[in-house]
């Protein structure tokens, strides 16, 4: 569907995006995940046409669109702060793209109806953006984009400005919408949980470089770099005999007897989180703490200050940087 080949971007002599080649499949939900300033938004803006790659090519359905302006690309962007037109009603905002394409009036109406129905905006079509809540504005931004029936929908942190509860609701709506539309979504976020929940594939980025590309499961179970091991989910990193490996907190075991334990430490904190509880252990020989997660059936009474052994199975070690 979309192919980025050797795309890179420099700003004033600084490399913002290192050479990147990536193929995004049809109907895929692909997320660019990384901390702010990692280059993920720049990649999205290059696909949309607002930035030009310093090198490389971008293909959509086999056609080179590297030098096409944004208004001639068959894809739409949902902006981070929505960029709704303040002087137009919800309806007119959604109609804007259709008018620019000079669609017949009847088809415009049909597409608007369809888009507002999908985003549950039907009662609000006559309102102006400033009369809507953040979540509603966000829906208008999505409706305005999908009414154009783009081949690809690009989303730049679309839920970033909303509070947690609303974000959770909209996440599942977005996932649902993507499934029912069947179009390719390219999603940018710094929220790893959001990325895990929504994506078919995640591209983890750090300082302009791709750290890892994989399904959420692959990334969680088998991170290939130290960055992706620690950025997605909680992890414990151990080094032994010059090699680095990670063990997830739920794979660690705390044992009372000190024999057979791979590490020994002192309980620093006991955290009860409802469905799980967690031990924070300060290791004795290394200046680091590890977290151990128990499921809710484990009722052993741990004391702060207690000495414990930390153990794990060799097959749960994930070697980093091999």
């Amino acid at each position: 569907m979309i192919e980025l080949s050797g795309v890179e971007k420099h700003f004033a002599g600084q490399v913002v995006v290192h050479p990147l080649s990536l193929t995004i499949k049809e109907g895929e939900f692909l997320t660019l995940l990384g901390p702010s300033g990692c280059g993920k938004t720049t990649i999205l803006r290059m696909i949309a046409g607002f930035e030009h790659p310093s090198k490389g090519k971008i293909l959509l359905d086999g056609a080179d669109l590297t030098s096409l302006p944004p208004n001639r690309r068959d894809l739409n962007l949902v902006f981070q702060h929505y960029a709704l037109f303040p002087h137009m009603t919800v309806e007119d905002n959604i109609a804007f793209g259709l008018k620019m394409k000079k669609l017949p009036a009847k088809e415009q109406q049909e597409r608007i109806q369809e888009a507002v129905a999908m985003t549950q905006l039907t009662p609000l079509v006559k309102r102006y953006p400033h009369q809507l809540s953040g979540g509603q504005q966000q829906r208008v931004a999505i409706a305005r984009a999908i009414a154009n029936k783009p081949k690809v929908l690009l989303l730049d942190e679309p839920l970033g400005a909303l509070d947690l509860q609303l974000r959770k609701n909209l996440q599942s709506e977005l996932k649902h919408l993507q499934r029912s539309l069947g179009i390719t979504f390219v999603y940018v976020t710094h929220d790893q949980e959001e990325a895990m929940m929504l994506s078919d594939r995640i591209v983890i980025m750090n300082s302009g470089k791709v750290e890892q590309i994989g399904t959420p499961r692959e990334i969680y179970a088998a991170p290939t770099t130290l960055f992706s091991a620690t950025f997605v989910g909680e992890n414990n990193i151990f080094s032994q005999d010059g090699r680095l490996f990670a063990v997830r907190p739920e794979k660690l075991k705390a044992v009372r007897t000190e024999d057979g334990a791979k590490r020994i430490g002192e309980v620093l904190d006991v955290l009860y989180l409802g469905s799980i509880h967690k031990l924070i252990v300060q290791l004795e020989d290394e200046p680091m703490t590890v977290s151990i997660v128990f499921d809710f059936t484990d009722e052993r009474p741990w004391q702060v200050g207690e000495r414990v052994g930390v153990n794990w199975n060799a097959e749960d070690e994930v070697v980093i940087g091999s």
Binding site: A83, D92, R144
Partner: protein
Amino acid sequence: MKKSSMGLLPVLLWLSLFLVVPMLIVVGISFMSRDDLGNVVFHFNLDAYATFFDPLYLGIYWDTIVLSILTTALCLLLSYPLAYYIANAGPKMQTWGLAMITIPFWINFLIRTYAWVLLLRTQGVVNNLLIDLGFIQEPLQMLYTKGAVLLGMVYTFIPFMVLTIYVALEQMDKKLLEAASDLGATGWKSFWHITLPQTKSGIMTGSVLVYVSTTGMFVVTDILGGAKSAMISNIIQSQFLGARNWPFGSALSVIFVITSLILIALFNKAMTSKHMTAKEGR
């Protein structure tokens, strides 16, 4: 609630002391008459308003409206592209552009206006140049015409228009243009459907500012217009100072304030109904 209305008190006091009270005095005087020495006599009558319907004054009244509207329209047409260019230039060019707009203010307004006399008069720079280049044989009469007054007015008020439109353009969310482009709009369509409606408040503020200032300006007409091109403001000024006919001067002021308010209201109405035209844009 109480506190916020208390906060308005100084503003209200200021407004009533320096705007409402003087206006009421002018309205009051307009219904009185003058004695032979030019003193205002408290004798209620409508003579001052009756004098206004003299064809001489009606003509000047009409000329003033036409000139003010022309000045506003020309200022708008010339300022928008300039403000647009400055607002979209790089930061360095913006600083320079704004400096170029404001630097003329450092020079006394009268001197700047007399400079136009030097340029436009029969033996002036422009005429001499045209003759030397062989374009004309006889000097053109440029000074003391309505054209010279229009030129002077536009020259005087253009910075106000440029600055208000510049501010409106500068405050506009640039992401809106990206969104328009993303939705398939060309540069021209983005301008028509997004930039123009988004800067309408600046256009309105600038237009009212220029229009009202032009109607009140008598210096430019005095210096560049000569005897034939008097504006209502020149008449008002001479009634208060030279002719010492305060009631007539006041009546002219009242009429012109009302005219301006009506025109501004009509203009606002036209601009706000245009608001909705985004719908029918094709």
